[in-house]
Amino acid sequence: MDEKKTAWERLQLIHTKGRPTIKDYIPQIFTDWYEMHGDRLFGDDRAIIGGLARLDGEPVTIIAEVKGRDINENKVCNFAMPHPEGYRKALRIARQAEKFHRPIICFIDTPGAFCGVAAEERGQGEAIAKNIAEFMTLRTPIISIVLGEGGSGGALALGVCDELAMLENAEYSVLSPRGFASILWKDASREQEASELMKITAEDMVRLGVAEAIIEEPLGGAHNDLDKISENIHEYLSQKIPEKCKKDIDVLLKERYTKFRKIGAFTE
């Protein structure tokens, strides 16, 4: 693991063309993948995919934000920026996982929820809020992994879980460094400075109690060796999923609540 990389260098790295996306990982890690579509309310948002598969032979539910590998894929998946129907599809599929006692694996990879007129009209805020609240009490284990970008509420909507892992070069942040610089300093060009101040790296997440694990990437980054990074993710899941499934569900839910409950810095 190369700990010397700065937040800015890692940001460049996760935006490298050829960085693997969920579409690359699914055939490497899972078998029997069946994608399910639609939120049953409005439509099917291709920025989030969900469905069933097997991990080491056991059924699991997968929910993932999808980045495109080229411009055509990105047009379809809207650069991994979901609309409300994407989050509602995720919740529908998560509830099914709960019903059929399957653990849920969420893959986070988004610059953030889409900011647009239609997204506001259909309740972007409500959709995210609902997912956060509902995932907190879903009676099945949930593991989330940040593959690249974990942008804001759009990431947290798939991020309420029993354990969060970060790929080594992934970032998780309240807002993109660019957006952060433009809100706080009214100057988007100071994004590099923002990225360093914001504490967004995998190590920062572990230190701040947001993430529990870091999944090592091949030298130079995930794009250099798809087999190796897939193997590392697989290994992590093969260990964690059975571990969480064995736990009493009420204990697990209590721990899930406490994981978030204890985050915060204040004096009294």
Binding site: V117, A129, A133, M136, V174
Partner: protein, 281 residues
Amino acid sequence: MFEDFFNVVKKRWGDGEEEYKPPMFKCPRCQGTSPLSKYEELHRVCPKCSYHGRLSSQERIAITVDKDSFKEFNGNLRGADPLDFPDYKEKQAELRGSTGLNEAVITGTASIKGSPVVIGIMDSRFMMGSMGSVVGEKITRAFEYATEHKLPVIMFTASGGARMQEGIVSLMQMAKTSGAVKLHSEAGGLYIAVMTDPTTGGVTASFASLGDIIIAEPKVLIGFAGRRVIEGTIKQRLPEDFQLAEFMYDKGFVDMIVERRKLRSVLSHLLKLHGFYPKEA
């Protein structure tokens, strides 16, 4: 000498003019101007378009709950600086001085026409009501108290969203507060969210949108993404009424729009409809 005399006359005239000009309120919604005294008399409601302006938390308490019934929780909770963010500590200290507030929300118990409630009021004067650790912790504790004591919760939301200076720690407050709301709800608790100006970003995307009943004041701003951000994305100007309470009501995200002068009475009725009657004297 003549020049001095002229200046004195000019000064007097100038002063005189200002003295006779009553201070005016310019409405951010209709752009109309009205005497400030009239706006204040209406508890900060624009006399022309009925935009409901921002109140301080103390003013909100005064017009909402029974006199002397408010008992504050955790009033001494103060922010720290989890990211060692430049100037953040100084900024908090400065605002504590200028606003007399310790943070952007006050919470506590109170009664409304005799019905007991847990109440939270966000105050936009403290860093735009943004949610960092203290706001998240106080709201979470308020819901946990309400769950334990089987009390209803009323939250007056007013926020620019997550507190940037606390980075990811702020984002996690969305999960923390929403989790506490969920447990309160699962225990059968009533939660009424009252969206006031402005309710946006991470607060809209967490506890503000989770009310069993969602009330908004007229013409207040409610949304997830900022207007300028959306305009930047779509490269065109948005209509004036975009993201106002009435827009969110039309889209189905607000149960009712209630004028400030009727709010106390509406809240009291809703509490009683859920079985929260005044305690017998």
